[in-house]
């Protein structure tokens, strides 16, 4: 039974001009009108899609034009050079590329499992009356403006890390062979780990809210059938919900990864902007967007500015590669299942 007040499809169809009750002439006019509005809507959505395409390609094209002087001067060496010297105007993108990948990796490493777990908690375990408040609370983490993450990171979080977590990590992993390299150097507070942690907090709500939304879109019959077979909550989540929603979940992860790769203000405050590639994750480093934000406004020389824009272009290429990889993974999963 439909609850009262809820309109059915048939109601809608009838209401939108009561097709069946009019004389034939009227009826064809109504149908023509419907056909027209149908075509118009189709055209409108298509136009919007094309507009998005043009707008976003415009961004990319303007980047290519802006970065051309630097790219033609440094050539492919730009990608592998660690140098970043504004005085002699000798630039290379290796350190920012490295930093972008490392910080985003740290962020996703934490945010994806935690986010999925929270989404599972919210859809399967949480008492009904708490679902909405907790969901909104997690979403609010995305509502905190990035500049506030930055200021908070600089004045509150980094000093805390410098005093507690970093010395702890150094003392624990200092003597473990491979891991010691990851935690080498004095605790500065700011650095790649700090940036990665802040990014993880920022990305968490993206992964969580999208996953929660797609989890709750799973048709109840599927879940009920699994429960009926005696599955535990975890098994339902793992073998029914997750496979059914994986495309949406990956969408959420992509949204989060996109934010992690390109996040500017929060990272800018805590990364240290050191153009060095170091194995240690507590060392200061830099990311592409942090370099642009830190240096663009004060950069005077043409090649300097152009190199910064070229970094922006490289970020697009990185995103491109990451996305292609994700698509490939998705395709493989589908093939395996299909």
């Amino acid at each position: 039974m439909e609850p009262a007040g809820r309109r059915t499809v048939a109601d809608l169809a009838l209401q939108t001009d009561a097709i069946g009750t009019r004389p034939a002439a009227d009826r064809s006019r109504v149908l023509a009108k419907l056909k027209f509005s149908d075509l118009a809507f189709h055209g409108l959505t298509r136009a919007a899609a094309i507009l998005v395409l043009l707008l976003l390609s415009g961004v990319i094209i303007s980047l290519i034009i802006g970065s051309w002087p630097a790219l033609s001067k440094f050539g492919p060496g730009f990608l592998v050079s660690e140098r970043w010297n504004p005085v002699t105007e000798n630039f290379g993108a290796l350190a920012p590329i490295y930093g972008t990948l490392v910080t985003s990796f740290i962020a996703m490493l934490i945010a994806v499992p935690v986010g999925l777990m929270i989404a599972m908690f919210l859809t399967e375990l949480c008492p009904q009356f708490l679902r909405r408040p907790i969901g909104i609370a997690i979403e609010l983490l995305a509502g905190i403006p990035s500049i506030i993450y930055g200021i908070w990171g600089l004045f509150v979080f980094a000093p805390f890390l410098q005093d507690s977590l970093q010395p702890f990590l150094i003392s624990v992993f200092g003597n473990v062979p491979v891991l010691s390299a990851l935690f080498e150097g004095p605790p500065y507070g700011i650095g790649m780990l700090t940036a990665g942690l802040i990014l993880a907090i920022m990305v968490l709500p993206f992964v969580t809210s999208i996953s929660r939304d797609v989890f709750s879109a799973v048709p109840p019959v599927l879940k009920e059938a699994a429960y009926g077979l005696g599955c535990t909550t975890w098994e339902v989540a793992r073998h029914v919900v997750l496979p059914y929603t994986r495309v949406g979940v990956i969408g959420g992860i992509m949204l989060g990864l996109g934010r992690a790769l390109g996040e500017t203000m929060a990272v800018t405050f805590v990364i240290g902007n050191a153009h060095k590639v170091s194995a240690s994750i507590i060392a200061p480093g830099t990311t592409i967007s942090a370099t642009i934000a830190n240096e663009f406004t004060e950069a005077v020389g043409d090649i300097y500015t152009s190199s910064l824009i070229a970094l922006g272009l490289i970020l697009f290429v990185i995103t491109f590669i990451v996305l292609s990889f994700a698509r490939y993974l998705l395709l493989r999963i589908e093939r395996r299942i299909g």
Partner: protein
Amino acid sequence: MNPLFAGRRRKNLVAMGLSLTATTFGLGWLVLILGSLLWEGFSGLSLAVFTEMTPPPGSAGGLLNAIMGSLLMTGLAVLIGTPIGILAGTYMAEYGRRSRLTSIVRFINDILLSAPSIVIGLFIYEVVVYPMGHFSGWAGAIALAVIVIPVVVRTTEDMLTLVPDSLREAAASIGLPRSLMITRIAYRAAQAGMVTGVLLAIARISGETAPLLFTALNNQFWSSNLNGPMSSLPVVIFQFALSPYKDWQALAWTGALIITFAVLALSITARALATPRKSS
């Protein structure tokens, strides 16, 4: 008890425990950040913050021009960006699910999701500010709209794709035109997720500093003229937080508190309005 079942049960308990821990972890950060915001910003909260202009250092004042500018530009950005994003997402999920256009748009859109916002600002600077010859609130709103679009496109497409095809077939079988099927049925089914997308987009632009710096600039004084430089809360926070003067820093924290709680209020209201009566 059957040992196999005991093992499954244990696994389930561990997983549930972990999910509870994860939730506590996520909420912990929120409490921590909101706590420090309240700690630093609450004492500065007064009526003057909402009724007076941004002051020079050493004078009393508020954030009225910045709050108004932010509301105006964010509102316009959402008004411009959301319809475009939803329509484009609709095309991709409903009409051109397998078309070449869809896959290209989807790809470029995903790339743009990670565009550093300063890059968007530079683009709008080139195509709007430079030809116009001056900074303007319009340029700021357009820059923010360009950030809104990819987020809305992505979530709209994802949520519409999740709407079961049986609903569409049912609608088609009774002769419902496709446009009505989409607007009356698919949208309704995907409503909660689409609203989430718009909220995420608003949350994202509400704190953007970099794209506004080169488009709307900022304004020390009151201005409702969208053709001139316009003030915004994030830029003011940015400038004040990093200044040497205590009164400016205090105002920056207060501004941070206001933005954050405004976004909170918005989230709750939108959720309350948009969540379908059926509880999930």
